[in-house]
């Protein structure tokens, strides 16, 4: 056949219309262009103008069309008609549903507001949901941070006023060495991928420190396959090496940190606290005058090596501790699973990048002491870490150690180093303290979550000093639980410890499946009855857009919309979408209308608040103040002139501060769904100390007056809890916790073995999970396209274990932990720490859920590691419940898990297997399209 070529139209019409909104598949919240053809969503791509993703989009975002058309979408409000867990529901109207909710909630508010526990999961409106809970008056509110990454966030806030991800990022354009710690495949998504792409394009060096060499670690130039739970020890050993060689930034430490602050040495109630002046300002010795002066005195040169009346500086305390031979590479190598020579090489590489190749910008700036600097000098070494290092019982101290390492290098907020994203930096003292004082019929006395500075801020009842919160957040068991402990809500409510509740209200939180430790036990708790035949957790209200596993365990379902059918704001009052060079916020708006009887949950909360008469949501006359969530977004003012959105305020030109503008949402839509405000060039670095940044932040409404501060290498709030444990506070911890508080609340970073290690040699392996990039954080799995990429999850086994057990392809294994056993398919992986097994998280689904057919691989071969993990540590025989959590923040210690493994015969299904749940939605159409 001769050559022939048909006619082809290479310029077809793309779509009828493009509507720009915000993705919801994870916490990155990228800008998306949603194409509509004949009124239907036809294609989704990244928004090139958007500050977060600049046009790119991940696998989840580009599969969004499968979310909007998912057969698992709930269709109408549901009321349970059979036993809880049976999946028997009847569809009811919204009037009936809201009437029922009010009948349950109104008496609680009037008599015992704490009997409502309201916890949200993948919530992206926490500043709103927490405000609602505060107005209701319950102390029992938090989102999912307690079982996610509070250690990283809280350690960063206490140390330097922010952590990674939405708080800050590497200076991608200038950094020369980037080191990733922890299981980072799933945190975060597009911004870090864009950044890695920039590094790779420049040929900058990337190092991965991670038991698993997948994802970002796969492209790292070098890999340290560390033993889980020992990252803190490695970091402290790096600090040891850097200190020993003098490779630290002394000028930076003297000027911008509490390294020169003097610590009280005398025994007594002040021991270990900073010396302060009469106004409470920490004192330093000025090298020029030799005088003892407040740290912020103009013109001084703080002395990091001063001694006054036997009181030494923070720096001396640190140096003495970390120079000790306990932290020498040889002393930690075996434990970390990394040769001493490799640790030394890493320290040398870090020192070389930081000090032999500084980044210098000719940008003058003036610091908070009034001193002008002609240049900005930076240390181009950066780090990123998330759950991998923080989801351990030593995670807070480990995250602190990493932040301290960055500060010792002088890289934080310098060119080439780590950069905060507005409205961060924001130190612990600029955040609220926790509030938990509740009274019938009254709002709570302040925001639920915050940062305690001492035992006086614990959430303990004033009368009997018992926990005020159902999750026992901010108690002696976990004093700095800044995000609450969502994983303890159901176990505590079931146990009636510290008290019984009446109604549990959950949003987007799959607590009867992958979001709980000890999944089967949680299902039992949710269905357990007391002697009167009443459920121990009497009422459960749940809002979700999809037929998730949790639906069957609720009594009232309030069906949410998908992300393309709703209003939302991605607010500076919440977890914003800023980048280092600009503040930004964004909206979602209904780019398509729901074809079901569903409502955005936030609008439902506004409606409920009106019906319940919650004060900020009703006028003086008792009329609802807001029509719906969109109306709240536009008209709510948290402080005068400061509302959920910063752009187009007042007459439409005001930024940050300004009166509500009724046309604000329309203006956001015209602007592509977002707003951004550039950080002035002279304010771009040294933000905590840079007068230009501080002034800009005040003008933007982040805070009301400049609040420069110094980094807290030494965390004084932790010392206050130690002092209490030593007997020096009117609030005293229970004796059983006294020694643990003294040991773990060390104001300088320490490392101790993860509590999970206490089970010993019977469980020789570490077991981890991570979300695959194509599903990370994504709500609404299994998406028709993504499930073809990840439809089942084997347990990956390292070579040494694989060979020792004689495993072969398609084999199965029984995996046992102190909490139980699972039987699962295995696969070999060589690029893995030799004592670690791992799998993808949350691929396994329960039969009958998510509109999948019951024989879907997710429900047969897919499995959860959660069955092996308990929210409590194994019994110690002392009659106490010891949490499987970080003792400082209460973060769920998922990655402390220790297991043993044995080969078993191939199975038909992964075990444990659970019976199918009747689906609340019709079966899916077999094929697509």
């Amino acid at each position: 056949m001769g050559y022939q070529q048909p006619e082809l139209d290479t310029s077809p019409k793309v779509s009828d219309e493009v509507r720009k909104t915000t993705c919801y598949m994870c916490a990155c919240r990228c800008g998306i262009n949603v194409h509509l053809t004949s009124g239907k969503v036809s294609y989704i791509e990244g928004n090139r103008d958007h500050p977060i993703n600049k046009g790119v989009l991940c696998a989840k975002g580009a599969s969004g069309i499968m979310q909007v058309t998912a057969p698992s979408r709930l269709r109408a409000p549901l009321r349970r008609v059979g036993p809880r867990g049976s999946g028997a529901f009847e569809e009811i109207s919204w009037d009936e549903a809201l009437g029922l909710a009010v009948r349950w909630l109104a008496p609680l508010r009037a008599k015992a507001p704490e009997k409502l526990a309201f916890f949200t999961g993948r919530d992206q409106s926490q500043s709103f949901t927490s405000y609602w809970a505060q107005a209701f008056g319950t102390p029992n509110y938090a989102a999912h941070g307690g079982f996610c990454s509070v250690n990283m966030a809280a350690a960063g806030i206490y140390t330097m006023g922010g952590a990674f991800w939405e708080f800050g990022q590497p200076d991608w354009d200038r950094t020369k060495l980037f080191i990733l710690f922890g299981v980072a495949e799933d945190h975060d998504s597009n911004p870090i991928k864009i950044g890695l792409g920039k590094l790779k394009a420049r040929g900058a060096r990337v190092i991965g420190v991670n038991p698993v060499r997948s994802g970002y670690n796969a492209v790292a130039d070098d890999w340290y396959g560390i033993t889980p739970g020992t990252d803190g020890l490695l970091i402290l050993s790096l600090i040891h090496e850097l200190l020993k060689a003098g490779k630290i930034d002394l000028d930076y430490l003297a000027r911008w940190t509490n390294a020169p602050c003097l610590i009280e040495e005398a025994e007594g109630e002040e021991k270990g606290l900073m010396l302060r002046d009469i106004l409470g300002k920490p004192l330093v010795v000025d090298r020029l005058s030799g005088n003892l002066v407040p740290f912020d005195t103009p013109g001084i040169r703080p002395d990091i090596a001063a001694v006054r009346n036997g009181n030494r500086t923070v720096f001396q305390h640190m140096a003495e501790r970390y120079l000790a031979p306990d932290y020498a590479p040889e002393a930690v190598a075996e434990r970390c699973g990394i040769d001493a020579g490799r640790i030394r090489a890493l320290a040398a590489e870090i020192a070389h990048a930081a000090f032999d190749e500084p980044v210098v910008l000719d940008r003058p700036w003036t610091d908070f002491r009034g001193e002008r600097h002609e240049r900005m000098i930076g240390r181009p070494v950066t780090f990123h870490a998330m759950r991998g290092i923080s989801a351990h019982s030593n995670g807070f101290q480990t995250a602190r150690a990493l932040h301290v390492l960055q500060i010792l290098l002088g890289s934080v907020e310098t060119p080439g180093g780590f950069r905060f994203k507005p409205p961060y930096p924001k130190p612990a003292f600029a955040h609220p303290t926790p509030h938990s004082y509740f009274m019938p019929g009254r709002p709570l006395d302040g925001p639920h979550l915050g940062f305690p500075h001492g035992p006086e801020h614990l959430a303990l009842k004033l009368d009997d000093q018992t926990p005020a919160r159902i999750d026992k957040g901010f108690t002696w068991e976990n004093p700095l639980s800044a995000h609450g402990l969502m994983h303890m809500v159901i176990p505590n409510a079931h146990a009636g410890d510290p008290y019984r509740i009446d109604t549990l209200m959950l949003y987007m939180a799959n607590m009867s499946w992958n979001s709980s430790m000890n999944t089967a036990a949680v299902m039992a708790m949710l269905t357990d009855k007391d002697e009167d035949g009443e459920y121990k957790i009497p009422r459960i209200i749940y809002s979700d857009a999809y037929a998730s596993e949790m639906v069957a365990y609720a009594d009232l379902i309030l069906p949410d919309t998908t992300y393309l059918e709703r209003h939302d704001c991605i607010s500076l009052l919440d977890r914003p979408i800023c980048e280092a060079d600009h503040a930004a916020d964004a909206i979602r708006w209904p780019v398509t209308e729901p074809d079901r009887d569903v409502r955005g949950f936030q609008s439902v909360l506004v409606d409920l608040a009106g019906r319940l008469g919650l004060p900020p949501f009703v006028t003086k006359e008792g009329k609802p103040r807001y029509r719906d969530y969109a109306d709240y977004i536009v008209n709510h003012e948290r402080r005068p002139g400061v509302g959920p959105l910063m752009g187009f305020r007042g007459d439409g030109t005001a930024v940050g501060r300004g009166a509500p503008n009724p046309a604000q949402i329309e203006r956001y839509i015209e602007n592509g769904g977002f707003f951004q405000a550039e950080v002035p060039e002279g304010a771009a670095f040294f933000k905590p100390w840079n007068a230009a940044y501080q002034d800009w932040a005040v003008a933007m409404g982040f805070y009301d007056q400049p609040q420069p501060y110094i980094f807290q290498l030494y965390a004084e709030p932790m010392r206050r809890f130690q002092l209490a444990a030593e007997g020096y506070h009117e609030r005293q911890p229970p004796d059983r916790l006294r020694d643990r508080i003294k040991a773990t609340m060390d104001p300088l970073p320490i490392w101790y073995p993860p509590f999970g290690d206490e089970v010993g040699a019977e469980y020789p392996l570490h077991a981890l999970t991570q979300r695959p990039m194509a599903m990370y954080h994504s709500w609404g799995s299994q998406n028709a396209w993504l499930r073809q990429i990840h439809g089942m999850n084997p347990l990956y086994v390292p070579t040494k274990v694989w060979e020792a057990h004689g495993f072969a392809e398609d084999d199965w294994a029984r995996v046992t932990s102190p909490n139980g056993e699972i039987t699962v398919p295995v696969a070999h992986m060589a690029a893995l720490n030799e004592n670690t097994v791992w799998t993808w998280n949350a691929i396994g689904k329960r039969k009958g859920t998510w509109a999948l057919s019951p024989d879907a691989p997710e429900a047969t071969e897919g499995f959860l590691l959660n069955h092996l993990i308990s929210e409590l540590l194994p019994e110690k025989g002392d009659g106490q419940r010891w949490l499987n959590s970080d003792p400082i923040t209460g973060q769920a210690a998922w990655f402390d898990l220790r297991v043993r493994i044995e080969k078993v015969e191939a199975q038909a299904e992964a075990q444990p297997a659970f019976g199918p749940i009747p689906s609340p939605v019709p079966p899916a159409k077999r094929n697509r399209p």
Partner: protein, 244 residues
């Protein structure tokens, strides 16, 4: 059975950087999303929510483990799609002329109205880059987004394949590999870009950039200021402050 056109000067194709690809699958679903509503029949998903979901994809990412003798084991993420070969066996094998290579830019396409779904082209392709759509019964393959790259209805900067536009790490590059001065040709020259399976003599237009060498760098170890254990903390501190 079907003739190839004379070699074109312009050779549009992709350059895929295996040193940068993190295996995120963004290109996989962006491709599926565009082409599901673009050129030809939709890309179906059989048993979309069932036990053995099987859909048509024009681009897939595979992850391979390699175990070098002198280095730690590694994972390589490898995106795979049509390489738009100059010497395309999938075209010459086609009994109906449905499979063809465009004379003006070298893109290999399937004319779906002439495709009888015999599958010979998929057998002929050594890269496994073609998939027969189970619903439409026609052969599907990467079109290099021929309905994007010349599309006057798109802003100029968007006239690139959907996979390139979406790639978060910038590991995918699009351009004219027939022009030695194009950005993609220069990248291939700088980074040692190579042909996949050259022994098959298909002369692929697409190129892959190899992973850079991994491992430790030569760095001189840090020299202690002095022996802290011997001289004590005070001596170390004095020496440190001399630097200040």
């Amino acid at each position: 059975m079907t003739a190839l056109p004379p070699p074109s000067a312009k050779k549009l194709g992709l350059v895929i950087d295996l040193d940068t690809c993190v295996g995120c699958h963004a290109c996989v679903t962006a491709c599926k999303g565009w082409n599901d509503q673009g050129y030809g029949a939709p890309l179906s998903d059989m048993e979309a929510y069932g036990s053995a979901p099987c859909g048509t994809f024009l681009n897939r990412v595979h992850s391979y483990e390699v175990q070098p003798e002198d280095a730690a084991p590694q994972i390589i993420n490898f995106p795979r799609s049509c390489l738009h070969c100059d010497n395309a066996p999938c075209v010459t094998v086609c009994p109906t002329g449905a499979s063809y290579k465009r004379a003006e830019d070298g893109i290999v396409l399937v004319n779906e109205s002439a495709c009888i779904g015999c599958g010979l082209c998929a057998w002929a392709c050594p890269y496994g880059a073609r998939e027969l759509d189970a619903e439409a019964g026609v052969m599907k393959k990467c079109t290099l987004c021929v309905d994007r790259i010349y599309n006057d209805n798109l802003p100029e900067e968007d006239r690139v394949p959907a996979c390139v536009r979406t790639c978060p790490t910038g590991a995918r590059h699009f351009g004219d590999l027939g022009d030695p001065d194009s950005a993609v040709s220069r990248l291939v020259a700088e980074r040692g870009g190579y042909d996949l399976m050259p022994e098959m003599e298909t002369k692929p237009v697409n190129k892959y950039l190899p992973p850079r060498k991994k491992g430790a760098v030569e760095a001189s170890p840090l020299a202690p200021l002095l022996d802290v254990q011997a001289t004590g903390f005070a001596g170390w501190l004095d020496r440190l402050l001399e630097k200040f």
